[in-house]
């Protein structure tokens, strides 16, 4: 079994001098890019701070880094910070996992039966193009104004695209490979688990990556519609009472969380590619 590790370990092998120079060049280039990336971020915040400090831009409308830090402090002291982060994170992660699982399951069923696939094709196409936010009011009535409704929203947004991408990936498997499995007297479930699943692994990872973004859309949109807590709630609340510090702070925290989730998926991908 391969050990799962989040960070790569370096091998210690003695390579030639040319190789060492080559590797050093690669590493150097990598660090230059990292450095510039960080510099852009720092410059952005510094410029933001300086421009608002000297009154070139009005911090009432666009906030400023120092005011955002103060806002985070306030939220932390009042104990609300982790409540909001936790609520949104919980909704997003549960929505993400459920949507992926349900989408996968539907894709498997549709792969299994060609007849079902052909029957449901038009329904799926219509559901896919329907803007899911239009179902918002219905969801609130059916599931109540709370976390459940938001998770359902999140699932609705992710599930169809998950099914469509995975089904496409399952069906794109080479016919000759399937024939080969059949020549070994493989049963359908064996063809599925030994060929179709591993063959679609790359596409599954891309689906996960898409779903990371989509599930955040789902949970924040859900919170816009109906919520008593969460980052989406903070943004809407901040907007209505003109506390733009709150809006900006929540947005930045969202950026960080979404980035973190993407990073985790990317690590999982790297694990499977090795």
């Amino acid at each position: 079994m391969k050990k799962f590790s989040f960070f790569k370990k370096k091998k210690s092998v003695n390579y030639s001098k040319e190789h060492q120079i080559y590797v050093r060049k690669l590493t150097k280039e990598k660090w230059i890019i990292r450095l510039i990336q960080v510099l852009i971020l720092v410059a952005f915040f510094v410029l933001w701070e300086v421009l608002t400090m000297y009154g070139v831009l009005d911090p009432f409308f666009i906030s400023s880094p120092s005011r955002m830090i103060a806002t985070i402090e306030d939220l932390y002291v009042s104990g609300e910070l982790f409540l909001h982060i936790g609520t949104t994170l919980y909704e997003t992660v549960i929505g993400f996992i459920l949507a992926t699982a349900i989408g996968y399951l539907i894709a498997v069923i549709l792969w299994w039966s060609e007849r079902l696939r052909r029957i449901f094709d038009p329904y799926i196409v219509v559901l896919n193009s329907l803007p899911k936010i239009a179902l918002g009011p219905l969801i609130i009535i059916w599931f109540g104004a709370g976390t459940t409704a938001i998770i359902v929203m999140c699932i609705l947004i992710c599930v169809i695209i998950t099914t469509l991408s995975l089904l496409g990936s399952f069906l794109s498997c080479d016919k000759d490979k399937i024939l080969l499995m059949k020549s070994m007297n493989a049963k359908k479930y064996q063809i599925f688990f030994k060929l179709i699943v591993p063959n679609s692994m790359g596409d599954f990872i891309s689906v996960l990556k898409i779903n990371v973004g989509m599930s955040w859309v789902g949970s924040i949109m859900g919170e816009y519609l109906v919520s008593k807590a969460g980052l989406g709630y903070l943004i809407v609340y901040g907007g209505t009472v003109f506390k733009l510090d709150l809006v900006m702070t929540s947005t930045v925290i969202l950026c960080l969380l979404a980035g973190l989730m993407y990073f985790i998926v990317a690590r999982i991908e790297a694990h499977f590619k090795r």
Partner: protein, 294 residues
């Protein structure tokens, strides 16, 4: 001599018509031939004559419009049971078919090794699927074959680390795990460069001879057919019919690479080449297009 040997495959007046929504095309007409156990038969013919169609018929992907195909004494063209019968069968206790021997092993133009499995896991896929993980005898045989053809050191490597020729050898060894009655080789060398092709031809020919397997090779390369096969079936252009069956019997000369150079093989090559060139003037372009769709 042939009458003594067991007939493993027989085509009896096989015809096939393709139906599309807008057209129907007669692809094969009254094809008759037999393949005997342990024999290496090549099928050559102009492009679009239905060479690959014949393989699809043998493997049961396609059913003939008329005629009979008998594989190892069993008529494989018999219509499958009706849905009603199959449904009723669900309630009957049926004897478990364990270790049912595979009928057909494949080698395609592409090796179709599973990239996520190591070479050894690829080779033993058939055993795994058939629940014969403890079949040490077969495993030993496969291991020996891998070692013999220089693949031993790559057992735990992934297919991406192997060259095209090595991958095709692995693909052949993989089919031997399931011990098929007949091997269908669908232009397995055409994606390889010339040098590799010659050496893979030699290995494949040697493995098949040592394992005493029956093989049918479909190829567009006449030299390949004359150097590897015991008999060559020449098809005419569409609708495909058996134009001629040529006895080759050059096995005594040595491996294919030597047979290729022999005078007999060259004469045969010229003869067959003339056969095909006459027919090449006939097919119209529209016919070739429909073949690609199929």
């Amino acid at each position: 001599m042939e009458s003594k040997r067991k007939e493993i495959l027989k085509f009896e007046n096989v015809s096939l018509t393709y139906h599309t929504k807008s057209d129907e095309i007669l692809a094969l007409e009254n094809v008759n031939f037999s393949v005997y156990e342990g024999e290496f038969v090549a099928i050559v013919g102009p492009s679009g004559c239905g060479k690959t169609t014949i393989l699809s018929l043998i493997s049961g992907i396609l059913a003939p419009s008329s005629g009979k195909i008998i594989l190892d004494g069993r008529d494989i063209t018999q219509k499958p049971e009706s849905a009603q019968k199959r449904f009723l069968k669900l309630f009957k206790k049926k004897p478990k078919e364990k270790n049912k021997q595979s009928e057909i092993g494949y080698m395609f133009q592409r090796d179709h090794l599973f990239d996520w499995r190591t070479i050894w896991k690829n080779v033993t896929l058939g055993l795994e699927v058939q629940g014969r993980k403890n079949d040490t005898e077969t495993k030993e045989k496969l291991d020996n074959l891998l070692n013999k053809y220089g693949l031993g050191p790559f057992k735990n490597k992934k297919p991406t680390q192997l060259s095209g020729g090595m991958r095709q050898r692995v693909a052949l060894i993989r089919t031997l795990a399931i011990n098929p009655k007949i091997l269908l080789l669908d232009e397995p060398f055409s994606a390889l460069d010339f040098q590799t092709r010659l050496s893979v031809c030699d290995s494949v020919s040697e493995i098949i001879a040592n394992e005493q397997k029956t093989a049918i090779l479909v190829t567009h390369d006449i030299a390949e057919a004359t150097s590897m096969a015991d008999r060559i079936i020449i098809l005419s252009s569409r609708p495909g019919t058996v134009k001629r069956i040529v006895d080759v019997n050059l096995k005594h000369l040595g491996p294919p690479i030597v047979r290729r150079e022999s005078e007999v093989a060259r004469t045969l090559f010229d003869e067959i080449w003339k056969d095909l060139i006459v027919y090449n003037t006939e097919p119209s372009s529209s016919k070739e297009k429909t073949d690609e769709k199929i």
